[in-house]
């Protein structure tokens, strides 16, 4: 009531008000722009970023397209098949064919769907997946688009918004399977985001920064990868990351054998392909985070030495080249792991997924924070590590200490998990025998009981 009233009064009492505002705005705009947008500003803040974004989108979309091909090829290899090999040499044009097929398909919007949200959902998914690409450290210097202060937090936040795409898509379809998929997805995301966030906290103890480049630099200055210090955290992250990207064995939101396709059951053609691209982009993002946090990002021990051998003019370029290559290889390895997992494991059940999230990964992540902090303080007290201008410095003794302590901290965590899950059903599954009696024998049945 009030809102309408306010609107009406605002527009009716002074109809000229809005017009004059617009007029003033347009009059002021050129002046404002010239005063605020110097040519250098324009190149720095508009031209360069747009160029970088364009190049990166091109590269990432190609990578994503070929990731789908890689997925199919790897799965074919795992399953002793050939895989796509008809479109182009070795099936290399398959992604293009797939893309064209999806583009020219009929775009169906269900009659009873909430059309606005239905259209919005894939866009949310893809935009969020792509925004994150801006802060990934592909390599040193020119090879990354931007380096923001809260890089890691930014990635987590944006990908948590990306979940909305799945949820809203499932809801807006106005159909039961997508709704179930959306329900599953929202529960799953909330649970596993918590686990991811917590496991990253323990990594932050060593990285001392949220900035993605900063994390790489931290490892570069130490000359080690944090996977050595943070092995339990890495495992928790990896498992949660698979869940976060909705991939098997955690692909409950789509679960084609149960929910027919889950949240994207009603999507077709281009809209479906947007979801598809978003999913694979998310895979790339998550593997990039894992590579950055635990595997040194674009840093490989010894690359500085190699660069130092070269003439000074080539150093930067060589470093960049090596960095980008190393980063791609690391991401590729993790992506391969994801694909491998998908084609090996059966699918979790909804409640088992929740159990894994809340009773295994969460306690492990929490315990790991405590343990890592304790280890860090211990190392600090022993004088093995000192903080210089926010970056850690340590000698080889420190590195050995943290490595050993990191791996040893697995045991208390496992002990804790054992204590928590000792009596749960899933914990005792391995006790299940896998052979069955063969001898022909008559089973003793209780005598038939007459129903009353």
């Amino acid at each position: 009531m009030m809102i309408q009233w306010l609107w009406i009064t605002a527009l009716h009492v002074a109809p000229k008000w809005l017009e004059s505002l617009v007029e003033q705005l347009f009059a002021a705009l050129p002046v404002w722009l010239t005063s605020n947008l110097t040519p250098t500003d324009a190149t720095d803040f508009i031209v360069w970023p747009l160029l970088q974004i364009g190049v990166m989108l091109l590269i990432v979309l190609t990578v994503v397209a070929y990731l789908t091909l890689a997925e199919r090829k790897v799965s074919a290899w795992i399953q002793v098949r050939v895989g796509p090999n008809r479109t182009g040499p070795l099936g290399l044009l398959q992604p293009a064919a797939d893309g064209i097929k999806l583009l020219i398909k009929e775009d169906v919007i269900p009659f009873k769907a909430d059309k606005v949200v239905f259209t919005l959902a894939p866009i949310i998914s893809m935009v969020c997946a792509f925004i994150v690409l801006a802060v990934l450290p592909y390599g040193p210097h020119y090879a990354s688009i931007t380096n923001i202060n809260i890089g890691l937090l930014f990635i987590l936040s944006v990908s948590s918004v990306g979940v909305l795409g799945i949820i809203l898509g499932g809801w807006a379809s106005n159909s039961k399977y997508p709704l179930l998929g959306a329900l599953r997805s929202s529960a799953q995301m909330v649970s596993y985001e918590a686990a991811i966030g917590l496991t990253i906290v323990s990594a932050l103890i060593f990285t001392r920064t949220f900035s993605m480049q900063g994390i790489v630099e931290a490892q570069r200055s130490l000359g080690v990868w944090f996977i050595l210090f943070l092995f339990p955290s890495f495992i928790v992250f990896l498992v949660s990351a698979v869940a976060e990207t909705n991939r098997a064995p955690f692909d409950l939101a789509e679960a084609e054998s149960e929910l027919v396709g889950g949240f994207h059951t009603e999507y077709s053609g281009f809209r479906f392909s947007i979801f598809f691209i978003a999913e694979y982009t998310n895979m790339v993002v998550v593997s990039a985070i894992a590579a950055t946090l635990y595997l040194g990002g674009w840093y490989v021990p010894g690359m500085d030495w190699v660069a130092a051998q070269l003439p000074a003019a080539y150093r930067e370029a060589a470093l960049t080249l090596m960095g980008v290559t190393a980063f791609s290889i690391k991401c590729g390895a993790i992506l391969y792991l994801f694909i491998w997992m998908r084609w090996t494991f059966p699918r979790y059940r909804y409640d088992q997924l929740m159990e894994l999230g809340w009773k295994w990964l969460m306690p492990a992540a929490l315990a790991n924070i405590v343990l890592t902090a304790t280890i860090f303080i211990l190392g600090k007290e022993l004088g093995l590590v000192r903080s210089v201008k926010g970056v850690l410095e340590m000698a080889w003794q420190g590195k050995v200490f943290f490595t050993v302590a990191g791996f040893l901290s697995l045991f208390p965590i496992l002990a804790l998990l054992n204590a928590i899950n000792r009596n749960s059903r899933s914990f005792n599954l391995r006790a299940q025998r896998t052979t069955i009696p063969l001898s022909t024998r008559k089973v003793k049945l209780s005598p038939g009981v007459k129903p009353a």
Binding site: K442, L445, P447, G448, K450, P451
Partner: protein
């Protein structure tokens, strides 16, 4: 199950209840049909009754009833109607007479004879002997054919017999392998066939109950859970009503289908055009079309 329908081995309440449950409307319909056919049947029945009695495998009792029916068709139809409505006096008797059935069977049975199957009476089997002792004349015969044991029982006691075989007999038949029916249009009857199996004794037994058309039989759902779907299928295919069945719906054919395909009078090639048009929306019925659906 309510007390009323709970069967016991000595009382015959179980045998009577289907009759009691049959509605008055049913009985009236029966009476009308019987009355309408009576006149025509009387002459025909008189001609065929003697031949029928020789081959009819059920009992001399039926034959006797048939003769009565042939002589006094109208009276028999009235009696059938009364019994269908559930005559209290008749219910108390240990062996309810299947009155209306042979009357109609006799009335419509064709003169064609069947070759007598090689059924051999079972003589010395402790289980069968015990059954005979417990059920007396309700077991019409116990025979073997192709080496397989068959018990024929009056439909009213079929459930009691199966209950007995499941729980009380010396060989407990714990598995109901199959329930099916066979239609004998010339006798105007179905044979409801129960295939039993005892896992412990590795023994099979077939129980058959000859059920007049339009009469219902008791469910055995609560004795063997397997009977649920099997009886539904029999209902679906033959239209036999199983009383006390918790969920008697069509199972293979869609809801709303007309007719029971495995009855002999149902044509092999048949399309229920009305149903197809209404439910599948693939057929437009032209004006004045023949909706019987029989193919040329």
């Amino acid at each position: 199950m309510s007390d009323e329908t709970k069967p016991t081995s000595e009382a015959t309440s179980g045998a009577v209840t289907p009759e009691a449950a049959a509605s008055q409307a049913d009985a009236e319909r029966e009476a009308k049909i019987a009355a309408a056919k009576a006149k025509a049947a009387a002459a025909k029945a008189a001609r065929t009754a003697s031949g029928e009695s020789a081959t009819e495998p059920t009992s001399a009792d039926a034959d006797k009833e048939a003769k009565i029916a042939a002589a006094k068709a109208k009276a028999a139809a009235a009696k059938a109607a009364r019994e269908a409505a559930g005559d209290g006096g008749d219910a108390a008797s240990p062996k309810p007479a299947p009155a209306k059935v042979p009357a109609k069977a006799a009335a419509k049975a064709p003169a064609k004879k069947e070759a007598a199957p090689a059924y051999v009476e079972i003589k010395d089997d402790p289980l069968i002997t015990a059954l005979r002792a417990a059920f007396q004349d309700d077991i019409k015969e116990a025979v073997t054919n192709n080496g397989q044991q068959i018990i024929r029982v009056v439909p009213e006691r079929a459930r009691d017999l199966l209950w007995y075989l499941r729980y009380d007999a010396s060989v407990q038949f714990d598995m109901l392998t199959d329930v099916t029916a066979v239609h004998y249009p010339d006798r105007k009857a179905f044979e409801v066939v129960y295939q039993l199996y005892s896992i412990a004794e590795n023994r099979r037994l077939r129980v058959k109950a000859e059920l007049p058309e339009d009469q219902s039989i008791y469910t055995v759902c609560d004795i063997w859970a397997a009977a649920n779907w099997l009886e539904r299928e029999v209902y679906d295919m033959f239209g036999i009503t199983f009383e006390g069945h918790p969920d008697l719906r069509r199972i293979l054919l869609p809801e709303g289908w007309v007719g029971f395909p495995l009855r002999k009078e149902y044509p092999v090639e048949y399309r229920h055009n009305e149903w197809v048009a209404a439910n599948l929306n693939i057929l437009e019925i032209p004006e004045g079309a023949d909706l019987t659906g029989k193919f040329e």
